[in-house]
């Protein structure tokens, strides 16, 4: 049996889903956090499955994510619908309820956020609402295990009770009168059963916070200040401290391992494999885990608090100038974390054209996987100017991306419609934030020990053996042979060293492998890498490298998600375009900085 959680955006479906299934899905205070269908098992009942659908306002779907939900309901015909209703926003929530009721699928209401309603001195007559709607209601306050168990029991009960075969016809053509009538009915019901203060404390709180955060004069400076603070804390204060700590840890573990291997007289090849391949490769990447987690921490606070929707509100106007909207702002910001979820989040954008433009812009937002590269290069070549250099790197990506979007969007600006709910501010839940950070850390570690581990081994193998599979020096290895053939292509960028070229190519698998590859090929630990890099790069070539890495072809995972969300042609086009753009800009940067240095 399948049960579907259906409801408006941002009404707490995912919280209920997590509680029922004991899973850890991320929850946000912004419409559209769940953009894909998520399946989960109900632990105590083996054959029952529960589905968390993206939120929707109506069965007259408007955006891609809503279509996903509507299609699931109409085509998969769940055995029962658990309609999650936000009691603090009853009128609009009940509209969907009335639509769902017409489908004929057994339905119950999980009436959520009753605690919030009570906090605001609101009152609701649940029994009467149940009678008027003729739908069983389970009240929920803090979504405890006990509460959701009742929801599940009730859903099973009504699914079993309904014997008639459900005949879900595709949505009827809606019309004005039908919608008007539904709202009229809802108004009549609400008048009798709910009392909620106008301008209750929650709304007042939000109103006053907005007075500052979306203030006519302060709104934009505050936004810039918040973003600056996030980057400053992530890269300089917290990140730096944590990375140094982890590096020390890795150094200690490496030394212990080295001594153990030597003391036990382990085979020489195995020794170098473990020390050079595994420790240098994977270790160089793992040390950046804290920075990435800290960045996600801030992104999740922006999302959970409800501020992300205000960013969309503030930035809609400037983005409309290049054919985007406030909704793209969200995808763009998520892009600083990882392009994959950022591209998925474009499903909340209604216009196909805007959606595609946003997707093309996302890879220009430097993702967190590139942080290790910047961190090392900046601390090596731009000492004492680290934060400025970082800001410049991120800005270059954003500026070039925006310029290209503006150019490719043929002048007639298609100002797609921006219709977005601004939810009340909420205190980000510690549990929710921890879940997100934990999930990201897990993902990262998994990546370190899968893709990065395998590519580290592969790189190690190719750099240790020659064409006849004899152990040899790096200079004579298979990789050197191949790398030296390709490297002339990068000559004009000042990147002719084959080890650098190899790392760039390896980076297409995952950007983290750029640093792990450089570590392995130069046979240095992460701590000593800066000294080695000074021998390989000049100042202009390091600038060229940073810009190339910032802009070139996104990783396989991103290309894959573009193919999935759009099509293969688009994915290939993005991959090639990014490479060409990176090549041109790096070429200019290299030659200009050379010229500049010669001049002075």
């Amino acid at each position: 049996m399948i049960f579907a959680l259906v409801g408006n955006q941002n009404c707490g479906k995912t919280t209920i889903f997590n509680q029922i299934t004991n899973m850890n899905q991320h929850i946000g205070n912004f419409p559209g956090v769940t953009i894909d269908i998520k399946f989960g098992k109900i632990p105590q009942e083996k054959n029952y499955e529960i589905v968390d659908l993206p939120g929707l306002y109506s069965l007259n779907t408007f955006t891609k994510e809503e279509i996903v939900s509507e299609k699931f309901i109409v085509e998969q015909k769940p055995d029962a619908i658990i309609n999650v209703v936000d009691a603090t926003n009853l009128e609009r929530n009940l509209y969907l309820t009335l639509q769902l009721k017409e489908l004929g699928i057994p339905i119950i209401i999980a009436l959520n956020m009753l605690d919030e309603l009570e906090e605001n001195k609101g009152k609701i007559k649940i029994k009467e609402l149940e009678k008027r709607l003729n739908i069983p209601i389970i009240p929920l306050t803090t979504v405890t295990k006990k509460e959701v168990d009742e929801v599940v029991d009730k859903a099973i009960e009504i699914a079993n009770k309904s014997t008639k075969k459900v005949n879900v016809t595709n949505k009827k053509k809606c019309n004005d009168d039908d919608i008007k009538e539904k709202y009229h009915e809802i108004e009549n019901i609400c008048k009798d059963i709910i009392y909620i203060e106008k301008n209750n404390s929650n709304q007042k709180k939000t109103y006053y916070i907005d007075k500052i955060l979306t203030n006519k004069f302060l709104g934009i400076p505050i936004f810039i200040l918040i973003m600056y603070t996030i980057f400053y804390l992530t890269f300089n204060v917290l990140g730096d401290y944590c990375t140094t700590l982890i590096n020390k840890g890795i150094e200690v573990v490496t030394d212990i391992t080295r001594n153990t291997l030597i003391n036990n007289n382990v085979n020489q090849i195995i020794q170098t494999l473990i020390l050079e391949g595994v420790f240098n490769g994977v270790g160089s990447v793992v040390s950046f885990l804290p920075i990435i987690i800290i960045l996600y921490f801030f992104l999740s606070i922006l999302e959970d608090s409800g501020y992300m929707t205000r960013i969309a509100f503030i930035l809609d106007k400037p983005l409309s100038k290049i054919g985007l909207s406030g909704r793209s702002a969200v995808a763009i910001l998520l892009g600083f974390g990882c392009s994959v979820p950022a591209i998925l989040s474009t499903r909340t954008i209604q216009s196909d054209k805007e959606r595609k433009l946003t997707m093309q812009l996302v890879p220009f937002m430097s993702c967190s996987a590139k942080i290790p590269i910047y961190a090392i290069f900046v601390s090596t070549f731009f000492k004492r100017y680290e934060s400025i250099a970082m800001i410049i790197i991120y800005s270059i990506g954003a500026i070039i991306g925006i310029t290209i979007t503006a150019i490719t969007n043929n002048k007639e600006i298609d100002a797609s419609n921006f219709i977005m709910e601004l939810p009340n501010y909420r205190m980000p839940s510690i549990k929710n934030t921890c879940i997100l950070m934990w999930n990201k850390a897990k993902e990262f570690i998994q990546k370190a020990f899968s893709i990065i581990f395998v590519s580290s081994l592969l790189i190690w193998f190719l750099k240790s053996f020659d064409m006849n599979l004899y152990l040899t020096s790096t200079e004579n290895s298979i990789l050197a042979q191949i790398g030296k053939k390709i490297s002339p292509i990068f000559g004009p960028l000042g990147l002719s060293d084959w080890r650098v070229v190899t790392s760039i190519i390896a980076g297409i698998s995952a950007k983290e492998t750029i640093i792990s590859t450089l570590s392995i090929l130069t046979n240095t630990t992460i701590k000593k890498l800066p000294y080695t890099l000074q021998n390989i790069f000049s100042l202009p070539s390091s600038i060229s490298f940073l810009i190339f890495v910032l802009l070139y072809t996104p990783c396989i995972a991103t290309i894959g998600v573009i193919k999935k969300e759009f099509n293969l042609k688009t994915a290939i086009k993005v991959a090639i375009n990014q490479f060409i753009i990176a090549y041109i800009i790096s070429f200019l940067a290299f030659n200009l900085s050379n010229l500049f240095l010669n001049f002075f």
Binding site: F62, L90, Y183, T214, T309, D316, S320, F418
Partner: protein, 78 residues
Amino acid sequence: MKITSLDKLKKGQRCRVINLELDEEVKYRLLDMGIVPNTIIELVKIAPLGDPIQIQLRGYNLSIRKELAQKIRVEVSK
């Protein structure tokens, strides 16, 4: 009573919806969101750069562009 469009409202002013002069798809979305005739809407604020606007209806906040608001005919008292 004065008939005007939603974008003409001042901050804090309230109005009653008369009708929506919009293309089908967008119109249905706004109707779905509860902007049906006779709904009371308050203009809460205008974004720092002059667009979009924030409105309040049925106890929740919604942001739409002025371009859309222009096509929502409303009635304001006095």
